[in-house]
Symmetry: C2
Subunit: 340 residues, 2 copies
């Protein structure tokens, strides 16, 4: 099967946007607060809302998408911590419902109620709730300040309580920033890529996986700038007297394949081990158009892999095997389904 490990719910019903608007307006004007966290969307409406994703799955030939709330929608820097917690619950509940309604097509990954400056352990109750609901991973934002990088690096003990819980529950985290409130830093064009690159460098500088040998982190968007500058990162690790990257970070860190042109995917497959690449497209994501140079959608990343002529064993790792290894709860979910 083919698992796309990076999909966000970017086709949400209008009611979710209305709820969020009311929630934020309600901070200043309590009269505007949403009356309920039930946004009043039927199962049929939810199923209808993800038809574009199902259509692309079919057309492009993927089977299952690991599905989480809209990345830019997390906006941890907006509002108050209590508002953000409620927002995470409402967002995650929609993901849960969709993945329950369409279990063959979607597996759930959750949003954490992070808040700038707040202890990360405040996210644990929601994380435990997600485990109970059968989520297979979470998104973890290394910069809840939204483009100003005010949190300590991921290797700091600030983050340890959440890593402990991730390991305990066999949940991987995708290290994914959210929208940017910094006018100098565009979200999908700069902040996402910077987030990926910065997180990787934090892990290179530190020694997090000595403390958490079982922790698995997914860096999206092909690892940001990292594979293009793989020689630089190998060289920096060497100058810092760190072990080889394969030992030091790549037993625990995985890059997805949200890179939207053939030469980029070629490079990724050339410098990164097939054990560390997870197929992904982020559809319907940041780039929606059709590439005039190919006549195909930029984000139809499977096409690029199909042109590489990879050995079948590597293809299987990238398209399925690695995902089942990095997301053990997904693997068990699929095994349960298969045995039914």
């Amino acid at each position: 099967m083919i698992i796309d490990i990076h999909g966000h719910y970017t086709t949400e019903p209008r009611a979710l946007h209305d709820f969020r608007a009311a929630q934020l307006a309600g901070i200043d004007d309590p009269a505007r607060r949403p009356k309920s966290t039930d946004i009043g969307v039927s199962d049929a409406e939810l199923v209808a809302s993800v038809q574009p994703q199902l259509k692309f799955q079919k057309e492009r030939g993927s089977d299952l998408t690991i599905f989480s709330p809209r990345a830019a929608g997390m906006a941890h820097h907006v509002g108050t911590e209590a508002v953000g917690r409620e927002w995470a619950v409402v967002s995650n509940d929609l993901i849960h419902r969709i993945c329950t309604l369409l279990p063959d097509n979607f597996a759930p990954v959750g949003q954490l109620p992070q808040f700038p400056g707040a202890p990360v352990e405040n996210c644990i109750p929601e994380l435990e709730r997600l485990v109970g609901l059968g989520f297979v991973g979470v998104n973890l934002n290394p910069d809840p300040s939204g483009g100003y990088w005010k949190s300590p690096p991921l290797t700091d003990r600030y983050w340890y309580p959440i890593f402990e819980k991730l390991v305990e529950h066999e949940l991987p985290a995708m290290i994914h920033v959210t929208s940017s409130c910094n006018p100098a830093v565009h979200h999908t064009g700069a902040h996402y890529r910077n987030g990926d690159t910065t997180a990787f460098m934090q892990l290179l500088q530190g020694d997090l996986f000595a403390d958490f040998p079982e922790l698995k982190l997914v860096i999206p968007h092909g690892g940001g700038a990292v594979p293009f500058h793989w020689g630089r990162y190998r060289g920096l690790a060497q100058d810092m007297k760190k072990p080889l990257l394969g030992e030091h970070v790549m037993k625990n860190v995985f890059f997805d394949s949200c890179v939207y042109h053939l030469p980029g995917i070629e490079l990724l497959a050339k410098v990164i081990s097939p054990d560390n690449i997870l197929f992904a497209s982020e559809m319907l994501g940041a780039v929606k158009g059709i590439d005039p140079e190919t006549g195909h959608h930029y984000d139809d990343t499977k096409r690029y892999f199909d042109q590489l002529g990879l050995p079948e064993a590597d293809r299987r790792k990238i398209f399925e095997g690695n995902a089942r290894r990095v997301y053990p709860r997904l693997d068990r979910r699929l095994a349960r389904k298969a045995s039914k």
Copy 2:
């Protein structure tokens, strides 16, 4: 000839570091202020200090390095604006002296006395002084806050006074951040690449070159994450209804080749026009080691180009022609020397 457009003076004499330490200590304790801006280094000492660069030029086969003060040393976020102005003058004067002593090997690029929150026009006196001294370009820091991105984007009118002067004097600017005071963001491993990527996206979002059609900006380190994600940037421009990147930004924006492995240089040459690539190595720069996979220095970037089998016309552009076009003052300097 072969021009390396990106070299920093990273082998400064001890006296320069002592001067800087005294300068910063002098902010709190006036008794420690340096007595003079003459750091007391002889011409012979300056020439001795750049022997490592000369050795690499010879061994690797480049002729001339465009040479500027240490990038991390600019540290615009440190001290006061007056201290930073003095620091720029002292740093630039050393570059000027080296390039005067060794005019066949080095051409000068200057550091601007930017300061977080200060109007950028405060840099104009030093810029005019550099023109008088024969400098061929400047480094412009898009984030003088040192990793917190507190300045408006490069397309904002905040920056226009400096762009006007650059155009008037036919000076290109390399968009180069300096050290990071943000503990989450390592300077050479994250901030530099993020700076490159962020600057490119700012230019993509805006329409700066409609106002400054003659302005030339060099984005170092191979353009950060941009070439690896070239499909994403083409797609984002398309979604934003911008013209094709070749029209919209690539008549004015150039990427250097500080990418430290063959697959990266291959990708760069594959997706970026040979009219927009400037040969560079940043030696002696961020990565000093020898790549165990090749037995050669990571930053010996000429070797990677030599393995590409590029058409001779493209090689000439990348190694010399583009540099003479982007740095017209360098071109005239070389022409004057040749006619002597």
